[in-house]
Assembly symmetry: C2
């Protein structure tokens, strides 16, 4: 089960919104939101932002979860996933510092 989906479902419920109403507010089909909350389809970043706004939640953390989920998806069943994350981290830090 998707962490992000779970979180967004909880936030929706805390906002007292039904799936239908929430979906309508962010202008997507109910079916899609249902599948996304259950991890059957991927969220888009734009939707995460829209939902964060609708639920009045911290978009920062949700976006990080969104990205992290995307990364983990790339590393599914990879033996060297952890090493790859570390190499990516190193290169990202370098990039940031050098502003490349």
């Amino acid at each position: 089960m998707s962490t992000l989906g779970l979180k967004l479902r909880e936030l929706r419920e805390q906002s007292g919104l039904s799936l239908r109403k929430a979906a309508m507010q962010v202008d997507i089909d109910v079916a899609i939101l249902s599948k996304m909350e259950r991890g059957e389809r991927k969220f888009s970043k734009e939707l995460v932002l829209k939902l964060a706004d609708l639920y009045k939640a911290n978009s920062h953390k949700l976006v990080i979860d969104f990205l992290s989920e995307k990364l983990l998806y790339d590393l599914e069943d990879e033996d060297f996933g952890l090493e790859a994350l570390k190499v990516a981290e190193k290169q990202l830090k370098y990039k940031k510092q050098k502003n490349v």
Copy 2:
């Protein structure tokens, strides 16, 4: 310029293989290999493995570079890329430990 592409180009040259010959050996079109080495197209993992084999190189490191490049691609222009990498790392460690 792609790190992986650069490395694989160097390895090819060290093996004394022309683009055409290498491409033929791994059963792809020359154009594709040319573009991949220059970072214009993405490698597939399978191809990286085939090339590592052809060049008698350490596939381990090349695969890690391949994955890392994929991760960084996901994080392009993201403000919280580093945070996302760290969250992903944490979750991957947890997964590994729990064998989920």
